[in-house]
Amino acid sequence: MRTGGERVRASRDSGPILSVRNLVTRFRTDRGIVTAVDDVSFDLTPGETLGIVGESGCGKTVTSKSIMRLLPEHVAQYGEQSQVLYKGLNLLKASESEMRRVRGDGIAMIFQEPMTSLNPVFTVGWQLDEALKYHTNLNKRERRDRIIEMLRLVEIPNPEKRIGEYPHQLSGGMRQRVMIAIALCCEPDVLIADEPTTALDVTIQAQILDLMNGLKERLNTAIILITHDLGVVAQVCDRVQVMYAGRVIESAPVGEVFHNPQHPYTRGLLDSIPKQGGKQKGARLPAIAGIVPSLWELPPGCRFQERCKHKQQQCVDQEPALVEVDGHARRCHFPLGQTLATLTVGAQ
């Protein structure tokens, strides 16, 4: 790619490309104010893939849309202390014209449903051209070459012909690849992929993941991958944040999360997946009892306490803080696999 290499190398030395600090997102609703994302913080360095994992309603999509400021501003409010720092700019306070420069060029997003996120009345080529027209100074011919190059990069056969086609003429996997091409055509520093493969078949999912990995290596793009599929996380992420009812409840390198989970919810999620090769065929899965609490009726203390096997009185009385020990953070009074010694260190 044209300038990708040098630009990325420069930013790698200067630390994180994106910092989310104490992100709180509230919605005004008919039933009062509800806090969908409650105190989420993370750093993202170039070339890193961060996985955000959790079940429906845990706040993972709201987190990503808050970063992009895509939530309707008349109902969404951000916390006073909240910051999303991108190149020194706090995106939560940025003006709409500043945001327009960041979106697509600096931070790009891929949505879950490729059919509804592409405009059905414009051709594929037109939709790619829109972003290039806005963010680059290329002339028409150069843009066309660039579009064809991008479509070839995402392995769309016959791109010269495809740019004149409409989204309905493409298969689901191809539409998602077009979405990726649109997201990547301005070589963003950060790519947010919100359940990019959930609606796709496994063989197509494999193609998309393979493609995203390849692009990361070539352009050193930082990726935030939002998913509920732990298999996908295990294969592509470097770090993982597990969310539950608006809170980050565990955050650690991917190997730690899978092999040394410290929050009972993370453990429960891992145990809920049937094992490959039918290793426990016919056995009951150690499921987590109960359901996710409604954000309007959160229990006192720890938000997971009603479903937790290890619940104690302290869990009802007091919400645990997110405590980090050796790069592994968890929000639990009684983390799994911890000796008393490390617990005391963590509490200090």
Binding site: V202, A206, A234
Partner: protein, 339 residues
Amino acid sequence: MALIEVRNLVKHFPVRGGVLNRVVGRVHAVNGVSFDVQRGETVGVVGESGCGKSTLGKTIIRLTDPTAGSIKYDGREITTLGHSAMMPIRRKMQIIFQDPYSSLNPRLTVRSLLREAIRFHDVVPPGETDDYIAELIKTVGMRPDAADKFPHEFSGGQRQRLGIARALSVKPEFIVADEPVSALDVSIQAQVLNLMMDLKEKFGLTLVFISHDLKVIEHFCDRVLVMYLGHVVESLPTTDLHTRARHPYTRALLGANPIDDPNDRRPLTVLQGDVPSPFSPPPGCPFQTRCPRVMDRCRSEMPVLVQRGGGESLGAEAERVACWAVEADERSGVTSAAR
């Protein structure tokens, strides 16, 4: 004797188009499928969207009529049975749908939607209906006050439990479960799978379990049928799936499934080529456009589903595969499954 015997089942859907709305083509949703389901067995059907697995499920319980072929239930031919002759058999065959949001009537309370089928089939005497409903609700692990609520008052997992309660309400022998856990979150999926496993034991159910998720199939089923574009391309016991699956498509499915262990990272199997249109499948093998082992013969001749090592059994233990490349391996004495 097998509880369900399906032979050469075909289901085509007409496609209409043009100004006169004439039939312009046919979608070959199910294209000559044969298999048996033994009493008490759980057969998984796996495949990607559009492979015909849901149509197969609906056709074997005659929610849609087959274009050709035959279906026997407990030895009795049911393919052409009329409405009233079918009724007592319908009671024995039930279905659980994928989408718990759209498969329950939103205007009926749980009690009335369960009562409908119970009264229609006269499952219990009228005076005992309420007690029976209360027991059903308890059986699927819900609180008794659920009976007087409406479907919208429940979460996805609870609605799926209600879908299961409705299927069980007429005391069926055989249930088709069409992606019953696909719309649910992981923790809820595990709860519902556990429930289905318990109920299968308790009521001695025979199941056809349709899913796109191989991990769920391996966990839940005794045997798996792998479908591709309306054809069963492979059939084998789930315990042997990883070691003995031979069809290139089954291998690709296994290889494309991300392993949930970050210490075991491996390149996922990526297939080249596109899925052919189900309106006009190519002559020969339906998988030829994406198959890494495609040969000349695959482009002209449809591979036959044959049992490995010969024989004619459609029973539980049989391993059947439809692939010319595998057939060539067999002839040249290659027996290792992993390729």
